[in-house]
């Protein structure tokens, strides 16, 4: 597959500053190529091969907005603010539940053209975590820029709809989101992904969050309504003093997704929680990678990842807790539990603790196994079929992670998606 960068440049005239960034980063990508299993972080996910086998006609989208979406796809019976992205492009936003003057919302396309605001985010373009980030810098075209003023708490959750329609077929979509929470502000956010007609594309998205002092960000994400898509979602979080970042991931829809969450606990008493369900069947391949960096004293982090794998599916959880020398009194916790229900499915777990401080509390655990056959016998001896018994056991197993969701209306929404999925699954 050859990505035609020159053509992209011609149709996306940008200021010289951005243009230089694009050229530089595309060259970096060209040198490195897509990540493969030769790289430690991609050991269990050979993206190069996966893309070659499934999306070898991948191309950069034309500079033409394709903003059709079906409004019936919006969530009902659930009051929320909304931002709509179609194929990664910003389409519309609605903050009617909020004091709109406290919120600055712009399409990233606008920001990239506006020298003054672009300055605010230019530092993010120096990030060279991996070749996909470089590619995203080079090809980014649109996305979200959202800024919340100090002391403002959202009254209703915000849903970011990520719709993908037919025009995204065989395209590589490089959007970037910036969400900046001011001091003492509060936001609950649901990233809701949905595709049309099982389109096949590669979404290489970079999400940047900044959570200032005392601010609270609760972020939920579900790819349950994706089908045939390939995704790399990188989330970078900067947490300042006494802030809270809560993240829940329901990873179960797309053919392939690698979700990578990096959280820097930069100032004391900040905390970060990442909990996830990975629930796969057929030939799905999902990976979750978390990097929690304790860079200051008295910070807290925890992760609970529960996975259930059927058929020929494959999942990986790589969780790293890094504690800097000065990050004393760190409290870090990580637990991964997986049920591998088919002999053709596999789960890889790589917990890592890297600790340089000497007064910390850090622990991790990882278990992988099958359902206890005695449980099945007990339930069947009460009249349940094997299918029902498996179902109720898997539901109970995964529910532990869903119960960690502290936002009740989002919990019931995700719970409903989850039950639908369980009921559709053949055990």
């Amino acid at each position: 597959m050859i990505l035609n960068f020159n053509k992209f440049q011609k149709t996306n005239q940008s200021g010289s500053e951005l243009n230089n960034i694009r050229i530089k980063n595309f060259n970096i990508f060209k040198k490195k190529g897509f990540p493969s299993k030769k790289e430690e972080n991609w050991k269990y996910t050979d993206l190069k091969t996966i893309l070659f086998n499934n999306l070898n006609k991948l191309e950069i989208p034309k500079n033409k907005k394709t903003s059709q979406y079906n409004s019936e796809q919006l969530l009902e019976n659930f009051q929320h603010n909304q931002i709509i992205l179609v194929n990664g492009d910003f389409v519309s936003s609605n903050f009617s539940f909020e004091a709109e003057e406290k919120i600055k919302i712009k399409s990233l396309k606008m920001v990239l053209k506006d020298k003054k605001i672009f300055k605010k985010i230019i530092n993010y373009f120096t990030n060279q975590q991996n070749s996909l980030v470089s590619l995203n810098h080079a090809l980014v075209n649109d996305g979200i820029f959202l800024e919340i003023e100090d002391n403002y708490s959202f009254k209703k959750p915000l849903v970011i709809y990520n719709f993908f329609n037919k025009s995204s077929e065989n395209k590589i979509i490089n959007n970037k989101n910036f969400i900046l929470l001011g001091k003492n502000s509060k936001l609950s956010l649901l990233e809701y992904y949905k595709d049309e007609d099982c389109v096949k594309y590669f979404n290489n998205a970079v999400h940047n969050y900044s959570i200032q002092k005392n601010a609270i960000l609760k972020k939920f994400s579900t790819d349950n309504n994706l089908h045939n898509s390939y995704n790399y979602h990188l989330t970078n979080v900067k947490s300042y003093s006494n802030s809270v970042f809560e993240n829940f991931l329901f990873s179960s829809g797309s053919s392939f997704i690698k979700s990578e969450i990096h959280c820097d606990l930069l100032e004391s008493f900040s905390s970060c929680f990442v909990n996830a369900i990975i629930f796969l069947s057929n030939q799905q391949h999902h990976e979750l990678k978390t990097n929690i960096n304790h860079r200051s004293e008295h910070c807290k982090s925890s992760q609970l990842v529960k996975s259930v794998l059927l058929d020929m599916s494959n999942a990986t959880y790589q969780g790293k807790i890094y504690v800097e020398k000065n990050a004393q009194k760190t409290d870090g916790y990580q637990l991964s539990k997986a049920l591998v229900l088919s002999k053709n499915s596999a789960f890889n777990s790589k917990p890592e603790l890297e600790i340089y401080a000497d007064d910390v509390k850090c622990s991790h655990g990882s278990t992988t196994g099958n359902i206890d056959q005695n449980f099945i016998f007990y339930l069947m001896s009460r009249g349940l079929s094997k299918e029902q018994a498996n179902k109720i056991l898997v539901e109970g197993f995964l529910n532990e992670a869903i119960e960690t969701i502290t936002e009740t209306n989002i919990q019931s929404l995700i719970s409903k998606l989850f039950i639908d999925k369980i009921n559709k699954t053949k055990f």
């Binding site: 016998f377 339930l379 069947m380 009460r382 009249g383 109970g396």
Partner: protein, 247 residues
């Protein structure tokens, strides 16, 4: 109701039941006593359908060989086993599980499924009789329950599911005197002309409360002696070894 004929069972080549015969008619309460490792729990497990045994012989129940039926079908047809060691099943809510269980069985019986309200009403009423704190039922199945609570939970399930043949595998072990009385009341309240019980126990004490029609002594995989309630009293006095010697 149940006619067990020449039942043999072995695990890894080791014979546990050998030529076991037993006939249970509707409404009868049979007690099976016997020393450790005489095959009592194996009998219970085999009737409920646990796998892992090499089985010969038949157990005719309602005109069909029970031993050929899948586990869930036995339960749906009215067989109930109160486990000797009820399992702790994390993540599975007790009420939710019981509701699925009851409705599955009702469906097979051709009865209307109960909605949540009716179900909770029923559970509440039954739990009260067994002096079970209903908060326990909104918790995970048996997780963190005491030994006695787990046993009572088995009896609660039995009173809700109303089986035709209930097999109680050492339900009295681990129960204090008050709990034995409560559990026995639960069993006695279910006694009827159509319902039979097979009660496996080590001790005669339980049979003071649940009066059996027959007492069988199981030794080395077959019934060594059968009698009425008095046999249990006699056993308590002389012990299994002496009784075996006098055989």
């Amino acid at each position: 109701m149940l006619d067990i004929n020449n039942l043999s069972a072995s695990v890894d080549g080791k014979k546990i039941l050998a030529g076991f015969n037993l006939k249970i008619r509707p409404g009868e309460v049979h007690a099976i006593m016997g020393p450790n490792a005489s095959g009592k729990s194996t009998l219970a497990n085999i009737l409920a359908g646990k796998s892992g045994y090499k089985i010969e012989g038949t157990a005719i129940y309602d005109g069909k060989n029970l031993l050929d039926l899948p586990v869930e079908e036995r339960a749906q047809k009215g067989i109930f086993l109160a486990f000797q060691y009820p399992l702790e099943i994390p993540g599975v809510n007790t009420n939710n599980f019981l509701k699925i269980s009851l409705n599955t069985i009702r469906k097979v019986k051709g009865l209307k499924e109960l909605d949540s309200l009716d179900f909770l009403k029923l559970v509440k009423e039954k739990a009260k009789k067994l002096k079970i704190n209903e908060n326990m039922l909104s918790r995970e199945l048996n997780v963190g329950f005491s030994g006695g609570e787990k046993k009572k939970n088995e009896i609660l399930q039995m009173t809700i599911l109303e089986p035709k043949l209930a097999i109680l595998d050492e339900t009295d072990s681990g129960l204090d005197i008050d709990a034995i009385k409560i559990v026995s009341d639960g069993v006695n309240s279910l006694r009827s002309k159509e319902r039979s019980f097979l009660i496996i126990t080590h001790y005669q004490r339980l049979l003071d409360y649940i009066k059996p029609d027959f007492v069988h002594v199981l030794v080395e995989g077959k019934i060594a002696k059968t009698g009425c309630g008095e046999l249990a009293l006699e056993l308590e006095k002389v012990g299994y070894t002496e009784m075996e010697a006098s055989k």
